[in-house]
């Protein structure tokens, strides 16, 4: 089984979000970048497929050279090979088109993406990739088992979950549940040393245009101070009369 894990290079979850160039660009100054959390759950699930079912695991990112430390981290966790498509991502659709090309050339049985990236929250790349490659797709995937070319996936739905039977090739949009938080791996020294010599192939992008273009960013208006109250009577009165939510 050949697996491709799509890795988004995103600001650490605790980052302060600021913008530069007249609020048109994300300010990366002082920001620590990490593997997108939803992708990291998928990468860990892929490592289990590698260890228990002999799968090969490749990771891919669409981005500039600045994303390579994130790919090296994925290699240190245990992926066999990394691919970087040398392009600054503009929107989800353009990323999906580049990934579709990587998937077609690589002949992957399973492509694992994340439910969404925690920066732009588009949640569209895995679904678009599946449609572009004519592949089965399960979004918000919280469980996946594969036997031969048959797959059983569990999808989180609003208020519950759904079990689906499908077949490879398959694309999933994964999230926590594929593995647990405690299953995530911190690269050890041996992994980090090995990652230095593992292949990180740079591919030039295919010609494509984005369908959307973010023209400006804005931070939410600062919040007023909290109103501290001393009794539940006061709280209920405020929620009813002032906030009008009950």
């Amino acid at each position: 089984m050949k697996i491709l894990v799509c890795i988004s290079h995103v600001p650490d979850t605790t980052s302060k979000i600021n913008f530069t160039d007249n609020d048109t660009k994300f300010d990366t100054n002082g920001v620590q970048f990490v593997i997108n959390p939803n992708d990291e759950f998928g990468l860990t699930r892929a490592m289990w497929f590698k260890e228990k079912q002999g799968a090969t695991v490749h990771v891919v990112n669409i981005g500039g050279p600045e994303t390579e430390p994130t790919l090296r981290k994925a290699l240190a966790i245990g992926a066999d090979e990394a691919i970087r498509v040398n392009m600054t991502a503009t929107d989800g659709f353009s990323v999906a088109k580049q990934l579709a090309n990587v998937v077609k050339e690589g002949g992957y049985d399973l492509v694992i993406g994340g439910r969404e990236s925690i920066d732009y929250n588009g949640g569209m790349v895995p679904g678009m990739l599946a449609k572009l490659t004519g592949t089965n797709f399960v979004n918000t995937c919280i469980g996946l088992e594969i036997e031969g070319d048959k797959a059983t996936a569990i999808r989180e739905i609003d208020g519950g979950k759904e079990t689906l039977k499908t077949s490879l090739p398959l694309v999933i949009g994964g999230q926590k549940g594929l593995v647990e938080e405690s299953d995530l791996r911190i690269p050890n020294m041996r992994g980090i040393m090995q990652a230095r010599t593992k292949p990180l192939n740079i591919k030039e992008p295919i010609a494509s245009t984005g369908e959307t273009n973010t023209v400006a960013f804005q931070k939410p208006a600062p919040k007023g101070a909290v109103k501290l109250v001393n009794s539940v009577d006061e709280l209920v009165a405020l929620l009813h009369n002032e906030a009008k939510v009950i």
Binding site: F93, G160, G224
Partner: protein, 322 residues
Amino acid sequence: MSVLVYTESEDGKIKKIALEAVSYAKGIADQMGTSVTAVAINSGDTSELGKYGASKILQVTDDKLNKFNAEGYADVIAQAAKNEDTKVVVVTSSANSKFLAPALAVNLEAGYVPNVVALPESTSPFKVKSNVFTNKAFATTEIKTDRKIIGLGKNSFGLKENQTTATSEAFSPNLDAHDFDMEIVSVDKATDKVTIADAEIVVSGGRGLKGPENWGMIEDLANVLGAATACSKPVSDMGWRPHSEHVGQTGKPVAANLYIAIGISGAIQHLAGINASKVKVVINNDPEAPFFKAADYGIVGDAFEIVPKLTEKLKEFKAQNA
């Protein structure tokens, strides 16, 4: 040329978020000088759609579509969009809409912006504002394609009545076998509980509750408010509550009218996930808890004393205001 809106239903009943989507579609239609067409799949009674501004309802009735399947549903909506020569399609932010929208975008070669929070700033060029960085910022995005797909963020537009005379017509899309490649084996869904996605009020508990045995008071409070229950990440990681209740950056997003956080300190990842909620109440015994900075109302004190009192007070209040 009409604005097309996919009106989701569940068990043959149109969902409230679908009515919000119709209200929003009507807003865009007014900006563009056109009307709203709704596409409803096995929806039963659709008479409510006219109340929020739909002029035409495409009724799709097909037993094969009784269970949601993203590929098939996206195919239906795409065919409806082409039939109506639609330039703008509106979907919601439900799990099902987010599942089908990317396939729909590829099918229609349409630019797609999810988590949209307001009517377009302009329709030519087409610019919309959406939530990004998990509620830490907004982006204004231009959609450059001829067809556009808008994923409306939950609870960001609200219901707006706009009584319109709606005509209904049957719509029979061509479904092919590929639309049903995936077999749904089972659906496991609590039918007696309010879901976080649909809830107007969410009551959420954190580590301050000390253990899963203390969740009774969270459930009591949620019951009196008709609210969904939720929890912080450490609580679900420790297995006190199921993952499906975890709200925050890597859990479920919450965009409720009222979010009540009990014994949750307010880590930045948690705040990001719930920040789209309109009114936030914090009950915590630590006055330094970061959540107080993000909240609208707060009580500093012992949750074990305050929560049962609050439940009692709300029962009285509900009885008086019933």
